[in-house]
Amino acid sequence: MLISTKAKFFLPLGARRSTVTRLRAEQRGFAQVTGPETIPEENDRPFTIPLAEESFQTYNLDPPPYFVETTKNQLKQLYRDMIVIRRMELGADQLYKERKIRGFCHLSTGQEAVAVGIEHAISKEDKLITAYRSHGFTYMRGGTIRSIIGELLGCRDGIAHGKGGSMHMYSKSYFGGNGIVGANVPLRAGIALAQQYDETGNVTINLYGDGAANQGQVHEAFNMAKLWNLPVIFGCENNKYGMGTSDKRASAMTEYYKRGQYIPGLRIDGMDVLAVLTAVKHGRDFVKRGNGPLVYEYVTYRFAGHSMSDPGIAYRSRAELQKTRENDPLTNLKMKLVDWGIITEDEAKAIEKEVRRFVNEEVENAKQMPAPEASLDVLFEDIYVPGSEPSQRRGRTVDETWC
């Protein structure tokens, strides 16, 4: 059993419990940790939880602490947030199969710990921008489920009024998904430049995939971010496949956290929400102290196919899929919480039930939303900032054209 040096300071809760944990963990191939020393009665009293030694691999960077200070409330919230995203994605999956969602629909099932861990480590003033697998981040940045599902359904009350769809959702301090692989990386450096320019003291967090990591402009952004000491954490969400191409078939070097070369990096177990939370907190402090950018790699796995039209089995084996499904970020956290006695199995079930009801209700609400009115006024609105629109608008024919 591997225990981090820091974790050794914490006594296991009991021999029986840690044996159970170890067995389960070994079955899953999941990093093993002992439990916290003492768990307070109060839901809001902070206590410390150790992290597994496998949580991090560093590159020219001191590792984050191998423990995280948290509360029972936060742990429950982490769990709930991850289930919400999972249920929301499954809801989207269902709606897509019912042919109610058209076009793109890229699900993040299996990757929930990344979105949730990051949001719990940053402030609402920090900025976040991601790539096209964006539903979970949109929810964590304050988008409601009904507005996200409503957007997927192309509704007027969707988060982008039915104009954006799956890849294009925005909210406060959240600069959306982006449909162009790699293009969001310079954008994020620019957002960081604006933060530096305005002296906000905040940090920009960005996510891109392992596929995007090979785009040239990613490295252009790295160069300028380091040159100008921009407050940004570049983050490669390595789910092992860029569409159907495995990282090993696409990248000459798959240690994405070392890809910054002259930028310190950190590889994080992206299936452990507590590791993600700790790493991002640590990175945020590092960047805020004026140390310049970081390159993070969240090692995760995409349970679903690339998009809805991809069953996700042509290029990866069922055995691999089965094995990684056992390393589910939701189960990982739930088992720890149960093992540590923070929640009981029944409480976990109750949370799941409540979330399922909540998400279903939101989905039902979204289904009731009207489609945008099929009028030229709605079609042409928001191409330009209101008040600055050209007086002309060019439709398909002269009859639909204002000049």
Binding site: H161, I180, Y384, Q392
Partner: protein, 376 residues
Amino acid sequence: MAAPRLFRPTARLFSSRLASTALRSNLRQSACAPSILRRGYATEDGTKQVTVRDALNEALAEELELNQKTFILGEEVAQYNGAYKVTKGLLDRFGPKRVIDTPITEAGFCGIAVGAALAGLHPIAEFMTFNFAMQAIDQIINSAAKTHYMSGGIQPCNITFRGPNGFASGVAAQHSQDYSAWYGSIPGLKVVSPWSSEDAKGLLKAAIRDPNPVVVLENELMYGQAFPMSEAAQKNDFVLPIGKAKIERPGKDLTIVSVSRCVGQSLTAAAELKQKYGVDAEVINLRSIKPLDVETIIASLKKTGRIMVVESGYPMFGLSSEILALSMEYGFDYLTAPAVRVTGAEVPTPYAAGLEAMAFPQEDTIVSQAAKLLRL
């Protein structure tokens, strides 16, 4: 969006020649001396001669002064004082925070500028030439132009892209292409292209102030040319409206629509047409490519009955193709001759001078085509 419909499809119009007669007399009354003739007569009524380069520099300095959210970034804009010296002196005046040298990395710095705009700043991204912006065109179109719409109106992007565009002398194919049609076709962008110093200052300031992404297509060969600048244009509140063309030379026999450097060539050609044939050509300086001032073009077409477009882009699917199509859609009944165009040739710009001259509109090309159109 509910703008009044100024033009109706020709087919649905009464053939109202009366209206065009009234318009003609109106314009005659307000006829002013064409600016080509004003050149060299600068000092009366407070005008002064200013080069396009200095006008652009003045516009940048004034806007940097007025708005703390504005900054300029690009290759060699700061310490080198600009590859074409347009940003001369700005680093000394505003410091390295506001005037930022970037590495040679167009996609990267353009993306950074767009990101800063999304986060609320008002960047001005200079491309050493728009030929290099092809490396970054994805950021201009997919990230800057489309985001406001895609976000349902919650994410604006106030950014200005500027730099020399189009024909330049002796630099061959990779450094001498006109991108008006490329950017002019993209919803969400506004595109302006100045000819004179007043254009340059007024349009660049308007572009920086506009809350949308605006592409300013300058021309390298115009930078050193001096034009008279009125007293009003010398002030720091001088702004030209985006989307309004300027009639540089009023006329009654033929409408010549042009943009950027070709406006000067068209004015020279118009003077020659007058001298040789006694023909009065009206020359319209578009100033704005998107939105296009369809109103001014069609009003002029209705007055003269003949239209010719002069521009240096490629002939296929270009600015002139668009204006010719518009003149048919909105002015067909008023045309007394087929609309014609003078454009760049469909060829990668050659290096040798004699061949290069054949690849772009020349003054005699304009004169001869106009004479042919007018059956002179």
